[in-house]
């Protein structure tokens, strides 16, 4: 039977194309356009080819040095944050009650930090951790530890990491909680019958069943922590020195502080590509290990 060919359905895609073009493709094109030019203001642009990119990836150049150093901080920050939040989130979700009045209470309390806007989180911690008037800062200092996030490298890092853990562990915990709730009772009953220890139940049942939600959780947390801007900007302003200056802070400095649109655009593009590629690699690895293992065994 011949199917009537009618391409008019393509018109239905037009709104999407228009919206995406308007808010993503055109701005991205502009950024790409900037990244191959230089400007001294006055809306005058000069062609620079791949010059900015070369400088960006050259550790000895001023731009490259700043970029790679801040990128390194981003990577370290993301790794530390993931290494803390994922296990902690799983642990919290395992401890949350599965039924009874405690469930609603726990869910609300867990959701609270997620509802606080980034800059407010930053402000809360900026004050909370101050060594003169902040409860945390004052207490830690009076316990005899030298803690001052505006002066000490470790204090600054400690502050932004704890802040991020406070802000986002709930996300992992809630995702895992949803994953745990979806495990049928029969699995736990079977495990009891099989004499499994708590740890064996976690390894054999819970962790495998959490795989999918953890994949999403880790992806979200990775992307989010990798593009972090507001909180360190509010708390430490990138300092002391450059010790908490992440790529996004560096970007804003270059783009809006120095008005080096070309450099900033090149940096944005590379930053963007790094996030895209790492997410893709991560996703592929996480979803493929299973299949590979199955094939190997088959």
């Amino acid at each position: 039977m011949d199917k009537p060919i009618n391409n008019r359905a393509w018109f239905l895609v037009v709104p999407v194309v228009a919206i995406v073009a308007f808010n993503a493709i055109l701005p991205l094109m502009t950024v790409i356009n900037y990244s191959v030019q230089d400007t001294f203001g006055n809306n005058q642009f000069f062609w620079n080819g791949v010059g900015w990119y070369q400088e960006l990836l050259d550790p000895n150049a001023e731009l490259g040095g700043r970029f790679l150093a801040s990128l390194g901080r981003n990577i370290v920050f993301s790794l530390i944050v993931l290494a803390i939040e994922v296990p902690l989130g799983i642990l919290v979700s395992l401890c949350m009650p599965k039924k009874g009045p405690g469930v609603a209470f726990c869910l609300v309390v867990m959701a609270l930090p997620l509802l606080v806007p980034w800059n407010v989180v930053g402000t809360i911690w900026q004050i909370f951790a101050r060594s003169d008037i902040g409860l945390l800062g004052w207490t830690v200092n009076h316990l005899g530890l030298d803690y001052n996030y505006t002066a000490g490298f470790f204090s600054a890092w400690f502050t932004i990491i704890v802040m991020d853990v406070w802000h986002w562990t709930s996300l992992i915990a809630l995702l895992c909680y949803a994953g745990l709730k979806s495990i049928p009772d029969a699995f736990y009953q079977a495990a009891r019958i099989d004499g499994a220890s708590r740890w064996a139940v976690f390894r054999a049942i819970e962790l495998p069943k959490l795989r999918r939600v953890l994949l999403i959780g880790v992806l979200l947390r990775f992307m989010d922590s990798f593009m972090i801007y507001t909180e360190p900007f509010v708390v430490t302003g990138g300092g002391p020195g450059n010790s908490t200056t992440v790529v996004s802070i560096e970007l804003v400095k270059i783009a809006l502080g120095q008005f080096d649109l070309g450099k900033a655009a090149a940096m944005s593009i590379v930053y963007d590509l790094i996030i895209l590629v790492s997410c893709w690699i991560f996703y592929t690895v996480m979803t493929n290990t299973r299949e590979v293992r199955r094939e190997r065994l088959a």
């Binding site: 009953q189 009891r192 293992r293 199955r294 065994l297």
Partner: protein, 358 residues
């Protein structure tokens, strides 16, 4: 392997049960012999899964005792009862291979590595899983997964009983009988006490030596498949078992005669007088109704004749109530009036749904 004894056992999910409907399992006393194959048969919600969970220790009964080999295990936790259970939906450990799945209960109990390997091998060959031992369990079909669940029970040599909670629910029809015969074989081989919960009479009757029929939290009959068929102790057993089920008709019983509407039939023995408040019924299996010439049978109105291949089922009505009968090969049946003659010895009398024995 163990003899399981239920002593005045009862359970309610509600605290402080008031009336009869609050009890999921009504008080019962029962003994299941060591090495037997039992089926718990009943409709959904009759309490059979609750009873099973009480035996496995997943539910602690509100009253009564559970004894394994005369040892009280009522409050003993599941893991210390040495029980295995196969659930409705296959429970397997996704990230493990078939062999690892089978080894899991032994590993948890700290059995020596070599002994585990040996046991796993034995059980795998018993269940035809030998060639799949190295495969990841998550990629297998539902029936293989159920075999693994069963295998995790069998692998423990000291297992006292294996409980099955409707294990064939998610199995394809054509694989059901295979798995069922595998079960039967395993039972003959291992002689482990097995208790099988199901709402499917075929499964129950083919699997079990003894079938326990439950209704609304109560055991209405325990018997061999033959006993359930020939002498249902409760009208429910009558129409739950057998296809088509037993004909249950309200009747007026006087001595050895029963009046159903305008018809009168002869009973196998003489019955005492029933009090006015009792609901008196007679039950006749369709298999025991013959097509007669009229005179001393049930005068029915034939509605249709169903050809079920090997036999023909006569669907009729008497005073508005449906009656079924199995017609013999040569018997000609057509729509209209017909007399169905029962075998008097096979006609049972029920008072308030319970069999009256004389």
């Amino acid at each position: 392997m163990a003899r399981i004894e239920l002593n005045n056992l009862a359970h309610s999910y509600k605290p402080g049960p008031a009336d009869a409907s609050d009890w999921a399992v009504k008080p019962m006393t029962m003994v299941w012999n060591d090495g037997g194959a039992y089926a718990l048969l009943g409709p959904s919600g009759c309490g059979k899964t609750t009873l099973l969970n009480i035996i496995s220790g997943l539910v602690i009964p509100s009253a009564g005792k559970v004894l394994f080999d005369e040892v009280d295990v009522t409050t003993l936790p599941t893991e210390r009862r040495n029980i295995a259970q196969v659930f409705q939906f296959p429970v397997i450990y996704d990230t493990m291979t078939v062999a690892e799945n089978l080894a899991f209960p032994l590993r948890n109990r700290g059995v020596a590595r070599r002994q585990i390997a040996e046991r796993v091998k034995q059980v795998a060959s018993m269940l035809d899983l030998s060639s799949d031992l190295a495969r990841l369990a998550s990629g297998l079909t539902a029936d293989m997964k159920q075999k693994i669940s069963l295998g995790r029970g069998l692998v423990r040599e000291d297992v006292r009983a294996i409980l099955f909670d409707e294990p064939l629910t998610v199995i394809d029809p054509h694989l059901k009988w295979q798995l069922r015969s595998a079960l039967k074989r395993v039972h003959r081989h291992s002689r482990t006490t097995m208790v099988y919960v199901t709402h499917d009479q075929t499964e129950a009757l083919t699997f079990a030596d003894k079938v326990v029929v439950m209704l609304e939290g109560e055991v209405v009959q325990i018997g061999t498949p033959q006993e359930l068929f020939e002498e249902p102790a409760h009208t429910f057993v009558g129409y739950f078992i057998g296809s088509p089920g037993m004909n249950v008709l309200p009747a007026l019983v006087e001595g050895c005669k029963a009046h159903i509407g305008d018809s009168t039939i002869t009973l196998g023995s003489s019955y005492p007088k029933f009090s006015g408040g009792q609901k008196v019924e007679i039950g006749i299996r369709p298999e025991f109704l013959r097509v007669g010439n009229g005179g001393h049978g049930l005068e029915v109105n034939v509605l249709r004749v169903e050809d079920a291949g090997s036999r023909r089922i006569v669907r009729a009505e008497i005073g508005g109530l449906p009656v079924a009968a199995i017609a013999g090969e040569e018997e000609m049946v057509s729509a209209g009036r017909l007399s169905l003659e029962p075998d008097p010895k096979r006609v049972h009398v029920y008072a308030d749904s319970k069999l009256v024995r004389v």
